[in-house]
Amino acid sequence: MEDIALKDLWKAQDEKLDRTMKLNLYLLESLQKQKAESRLNSLARFKGWAVVLGVVWVLFLGLLIYGNRLQNIYFTVSIGMILIFNILAVAVYIKHIVLIRQLDYSKSITDTQKKLSELQASTFNTRFLLLQTPFYCTWFWSTEMIEGSGIKFWLIAVPIALLFTLLAIWLYRNLVPGKMHKKWVRSLIMSTPEHTSVMKAQDFLNEIAEFKKG
């Protein structure tokens, strides 16, 4: 099958093309309304909801700190650290939404698809949230508790907090895109709500890299 024959075949299918699809070019105003319904905006919508929930959570934590008024230093520091991590996560998600909105579909296919897939796989960018885990083991500590429980505090509460600290640091260092080929990393990603899009995006990033290599 020669080049010309292939191109002739492609042209010959023109008359069989489905042209009944709605190409509402003459209703441009209604296309503006489509913005909200656009299937391509689902990623921005998901991140938008995450920002809303994040802001509610941050406000709640802020209220807790305000209510405690430094009565318990362990509580204030722990909740304060959790608050800082969550403020950073909300900021990262807002940045993602801005980048999604600014995505330029008129750039080259590999560049645009790479940017989009990186945004879809951006769950990795919020993995620093793992580092807040140890503070969930310390917020209920108090001077009374430490003095009252004696050795039990040092044998149970402290080792648990240390264990979570080490686990959080280890996960933070190992849960990276470069280790997606490892079964446990994929299993862990599978447990997040964004798992399908993250894994697909990561696989597509590999495909794009292969495509560019030739």
């Binding site: 492609w10 299918q13 023109d14 579909y105 296919i109 590999t110 645009t112 698809q113 030739g214």
Partner: protein, 167 residues
Amino acid sequence: MQNNKEEFLERISAHKLIIYKICNAYCKNRYDRDDLAQEISYQLWRSYDHFNGSVKFSTWMYRVALNVAITFYRKTKKAEAVIQLTEADTEVEDKHEDRAELEKNILILQQFINELNELDKALMILYLEEKGYSEIAEILGITETNVATKISRIKDKLKQKFSTINN
């Protein structure tokens, strides 16, 4: 704004076959084709203000339409029925022999393109649309040498497919 709108409509209307072809290549389902055509129209209109003429209008349009189609396809991809050649397709039936042969070959080509991954599909559409290697490279963001190598590989596979089915 009104002039801009008129100009946009005129230019898009002159190239709308591109949109039809891309929608047909990326969506087998009629309803998905409708949605994709809408998405492409919306993104073209949204991007038109930024079109500054630094590349050809068709290059710009192919970039937007293919980017939207690939993104859309990846979001809606499901176990779509691959176009299968049935016995009826391969039979000459009562039709004129040449016509039947042509229709069979169109179906083989469609099936082949349907089986390609998103990026190879874009490459093949651009090649069949008779775009030059430099324009294809510009649209896809890869080198001309890479375009030539990939097209040659895909064509070899396609030739094999035609010879297997036709023999």
